[in-house]
């Protein structure tokens, strides 16, 4: 098998799955006007990941997943507590909680590194896309574990979104009305938080938390600027997410060579930059872009 199938294909698959998964879930954060919550959860799961890792002693997916879900629940609860007791705006409550939890995670990482456990800050932030290899290439069962984990979370998230399509749409648009009808918008929001946490943990090993944060927000935000149709927005965001993953990976692999440079680019970083460019393009050229006049008017009102 060629080098492409052994090295590039599994990396593309992992990056594409992670980006598509985060883009799918990010739609509901963007529509709830809670984009920062994705950022908060992606940071806040770190102590859970490291804690699970330290207890299990290896990159055991189940231990880290359990730790990350617990950390996400603690973060979501703490945000509510800080918001109520402190009577501050939600963004400030999220900012306070996730920076403290991320700092605790970094502290725990250092302790883990001191004990010679194989986990470090670079791996968490940038991921290890280059290390995802499919050495026995045509053998499906030999696909790297990260790819299987991502595919599993993606399938579960897609199934939940399809099964609960109308319940989610109603809970995101008008939670009070949803509750009055007897639906459970609180449970649906909790499920969203847990899925974002699961996406963060499934993605972090391959692509790192920076890419998770970018993909939770950029593709849905770009899609939001391009359509007024709910379903189109979600499908478009997934396409933009996976498209950014492929384009960013290609850019990282070929741009330095084309420029004749000897240095290399970080693939996760390139993907995040491409997704940011997609938002910029949608804001400048998308059908729902603000004209400069109305943007200035809204700034004046604000």
């Amino acid at each position: 098998m060629s080098l492409f199938w052994q090295v590039d294909f599994p990396a593309l698959l992992a990056a594409g799955l992670a980006s598509g998964l985060c883009a799918l879930l990010g739609n509901f954060l963007v529509l709830r006007r809670e984009s920062l919550l994705g950022d908060a959860i992606a940071h806040a799961v770190l102590p859970g990941i490291v804690g699970g890792f330290m207890l299990a002693g290896a990159l055991a997916a189940s231990a880290m997943l359990a730790g990350a879900l617990a950390a996400a629940l603690i973060a979501a609860g703490a945000i509510q507590v800080v918001r109520r007791l402190g009577r501050i705006e939600p963004g400030a409550a999220m900012g306070a909680v996730f920076t403290v939890m991320f700092a605790a995670g970094v502290f725990m990482l250092e302790q883990a590194a001191a004990r010679n456990l194989h986990i470090d800050a670079d791996c968490v932030l940038y991921g290890q896309l280059e290390d995802i290899l499919w050495l026995d290439a045509p053998d499906i069962s030999a696909l790297p574990r990260e790819v299987w984990t991502l595919a599993g979370v993606f399938a579960a998230a897609a199934a939940a979104v399809l099964l609960l399509a109308k319940e989610i749409r109603l809970a995101v648009f008008d939670p009070a009305f949803a509750a009055a009808l007897g639906f459970r918008p609180g449970l649906i929001h909790l499920g969203l938080v847990l899925f974002v946490a699961a996406a963060a943990i499934a993605s972090f090993e391959a692509v790192g938390s920076i890419l998770v944060i970018a993909m939770l927000i950029c593709p849905p935000a770009a899609a939001r600027l391009m359509t007024d149709n709910y379903r189109t927005q979600i499908l478009l965001s997934i396409a933009l997410g996976t498209g950014s993953a492929f384009a960013g990976y290609g850019l990282a692999g070929f741009a330095p060579a084309l420029l004749g440079a000897s240095w290399s680019l970080n693939a996760a970083g390139c993907i995040a930059v491409v997704s940011g460019l997609a938002v910029a393009a949608a804001a400048l050229f998308g059908p729902r872009r603000l004209s400069f006049a109305s943007a200035a008017a809204s700034l004046g009102r604000g």
Partner: protein, 251 residues
Amino acid sequence: MTADTPSASPFEANGLTVALGGRPVLWNVDVRLPARGMSAVVGPNGAGKSTLFKAALGLAPVLTGQVRLLGEPVARVRRRIAYMPQRSSVDWDFPVSARDVAAMGLYGRVGWFRRLSKRHLAAADAALERVGLADFRNRQIGRLSGGQQQRVFLARALAQEAELLLLDEPFSGIDTASEAAILDVLAGLEGEGRHIVCIHHDLRTVAAYFDHVTVLNAVAIASGPPAEALGEETLRRAYDASGLRPRALAA
């Protein structure tokens, strides 16, 4: 319609006390709305009007007391009640059409997990037609005027085909054409024997639009036909700085 005994009150609160964020919003409220005619709840900002609806629907925590809707606890009659929250409570930039929103009124009947059928969409279209928005059904809700948005919300409540409609500020911030259209629809519903309770903000129109009015400011100050309930003394107690207006002043 079910054969309610004429004496049964569609909306009855007894000793209702609700606190939000540690502050009492409703205090020992007794309200018993009549079975016939359109009812209004009036009071200054922060008087607990919306909270009264939310407590009745089980959306706000009740400390003491109880509310019975259509003579029953709310959990047993959810399908028979339509609720229209304040227009400002949702994000009108949301990527859904007028028809999508009207169809949400049918979600309760469709139930968990199941999808809307063509029959449901036809019912949503019929509700939009009734509020005069048939031509706007595919328009994104952010591209409608304030009055049209209010009518979309009303269409969603209509689609529920409820016996009791709880409408939070249906006439707030809208043009006169929409106000007339909404009033017309509500009068039609009332004629069909449905019970209508509106939170209302405009004291000048209460007597013209409603048969019964409850004046609320944390406590129920008065309740009865507008001519009797809207006395000078009542309004002074409800709206003036003197007497019972601790919450709004303290804020």
